[in-house]
């Protein structure tokens, strides 16, 4: 789909927990947003915030034209987003990046997310389910209050949970969940902290399963023009914004 600059109306803003908000926008576009793509949000009237903020698409409905962004409050830019009011407009550039690749034939898929990295997996789960894939989510958090949107994830597949403090689901990290031993998967998708994705990639490699990860980086343009957000790949530096954010682990030097 052609990239666009749009002023979108804020439908609602919900504080999910201490560090994350769910922003719902009215996004009347014609084309398709791919799972794993992201948007660049312009932050207005916030001192010391100069650049847009890249935020991944959490969910999009072609029917209601609702676009959901899960925003972790990390700095002045994201905190400014959390103060937006219903009915106001916010300027986005979208859709950006390559997105996850959906299997051509239905497969057994495992979607592994940690922290706010669960964000793109909800829309991915929707797209995978629509294409007849079997979807299992494996979501990790430090503690139960860090888990987000679990009811939404359950609409598209089975949800397995790990928490580091055993407050919900199985105890430990996502890589320690019993589902790995019980089930066979054809494809793994992952998004979350880099150490988690690296551990997931290692497990995928050991089991000879295709695996895609969604990377994060500080960005300026989001369009592949400035070359600020590169990551190291086997073919040299590549832009996270346009060559990614989704990379096959075979491309990376992990």
């Amino acid at each position: 789909m052609k990239k666009q600059i749009m002023d979108l109306e804020v439908l609602s803003l919900e504080q999910l927990n201490e560090r994350n908000v769910l922003l719902k926008l009215h996004c009347p576009i014609d084309g398709e947003i791919l799972a794993g793509q992201f948007v660049e949000v312009r932050i207005d009237n916030q001192k010391d915030v100069f650049l847009r903020r890249p935020i991944s698409v959490h969910y999009y409905s072609e029917e209601s034209h609702e676009l959901w962004l899960l925003v972790q409050l990390v700095g002045k830019g994201t905190r400014a987003i959390s103060r937006l009011e219903k009915g106001t407009k916010i300027n986005l550039v979208l859709p950006l990046g390559n997105g996850f690749s959906l299997p051509e034939k239905p497969q057994k898929t495992l979607l592994v997310g940690g922290g706010v990295g669960v964000a793109p997996l909800l829309y991915l789960g929707k797209k995978l389910k629509e294409k007849g894939n079997e979807v299992t989510f494996l979501l990790g958090a430090r503690t139960s209050s860090d888990l987000m949107q679990i009811a939404c994830f359950k609409e598209f597949g089975e949800v397995c949970i790990t928490t580091e403090d055993a407050s919900e689901g199985e105890s430990g990290f996502v890589t320690q969940h019993s589902v790995w031993g019980k089930r066979q998967f054809d494809k793994i998708f992952s998004c979350g902290p880099t150490p988690m994705m690296k551990a997931v990639a290692k497990m995928a490699q050991e089991r000879n399963i295709d695996c895609e990860v969604s990377l994060e980086n500080t960005m300026a343009c989001g369009l592949g023009a400035c070359l600020c957000c590169v990551t190291d790949t086997k073919e040299g530096h590549k832009c996270v914004c346009t060559d990614g954010p989704v990379f096959d682990i075979k491309e990376l030097k992990w």
Partner: protein, 300 residues
């Protein structure tokens, strides 16, 4: 109303260009604007050989601006000619290549290759990149070195030669005069200012290279001052850049003595800003009863 500007043999339909390194190869912005609306665009820094650029992190946001330390990542001039140039030949605007190097021989060899390209009417010689260890800014911080590299390129390059100047000098007019006397058709200024950002919590510099190039709204007053100083020192046309975020900023550069402007970092915040500046300059001319954009630089 005349908005046409001449820079050497180059004719721009309006004084709005883009700054190298902020606009990719133009095509990255084709979804947002009609590239043919621009006076021209300057593609990213091109070197004789492939360069991987610097390690990351390469970017730090700063108050009203940003630092970058990309380090001229590009696949080399031959790759440009074979793979990118063919996609740019059908445009009805000026595509200018920014040429960089780490020694005079590299600058000359790259310029010679670009000289052979029918649809590239000008080069911008980058003697001011703060992010490469050898060469780059070294050529732009000494009048003698600047004169040598410009003269050597002038010798092999017949079309319009623009020289991009560094602000990281004691007296920019001295370097501008050296470029002029060595045969430059125009000077563009300013490249980024050498700066630094530190993460206090981690007690570490943010950029992998520790220092980087500062750009964005915060550099505009310095850029305006330098354009004004250089306009008093040389007779060749000046292309002003540094913190142009909107049409008013662009007009300020024209008033300071520039014949044209480049828009850089603003492209990251509004990918359609260039066309808005083109339209804004026309609206300004109408409001002020001006019939020729070239008058603006004589109004102050």
């Amino acid at each position: 109303m005349n908005t046409t500007v001449k820079i050497g043999q180059l004719e721009l339909k309006n004084p709005v260009l883009t700054a190298s390194g902020t606009f990719g190869y133009g095509l990255e912005f084709a979804d947002f604007i009609d590239l043919n609306r621009l006076g021209g665009f300057i593609v990213k820094g091109t070197t004789l050989h492939h360069r991987e650029g610097n390690p990351y992190p390469r970017m730090a946001e700063t108050p009203s601006g940003m630092l970058n330390a990309v380090g001229l990542q590009n696949k080399g001039v031959d790759y440009f000619i074979e793979n990118i140039y063919p996609k740019l030949t059908g445009l009805n605007t000026n595509v200018i290549v920014n040429v960089s190097g780490s020694c005079i021989e590299d600058y000359v060899a790259t310029a010679e290759k670009i000289n052979a390209l029918e649809h590239i009417p000008a080069i911008e010689l980058n003697i001011s990149c703060p992010n490469v260890k050898q060469g780059g800014m070294a050529f732009g911080t000494s009048a003698k070195a600047a004169e040598e590299v410009v003269a050597a390129v002038r010798n092999v390059y017949q079309k319009t030669l623009i020289v991009k100047l560094s602000p990281n000098v004691t007296d920019i007019t001295e370097i501008a005069r050296a470029a002029e006397s060595a045969g430059a058709d125009s000077v563009s200024l300013i490249n980024t200012l050498l700066g630094m950002a530190i993460d206090a919590e981690r007690r570490k510099p943010i950029l992998s290279t520790i220092t980087g190039g500062l750009s964005g709204a915060c550099v505009k007053p310095i850029a305006l001052r330098m354009v004004w100083q250089v306009s008093k020192a040389v007779n060749i046309p000046i292309i002003g850049l540094g913190g142009v975020m909107n049409a008013t900023d662009a007009i300020e550069f024209l008033l300071a003595g520039a014949s044209a402007v480049q828009i850089g970092t603003a492209n990251f915040i509004d990918p359609a800003v260039t066309v808005k500046v083109v339209e804004g300059i026309e609206a300004y001319m109408q409001r002020h009863g001006l019939t020729d954009v070239n008058e603006i630089k004589m109004l102050m």
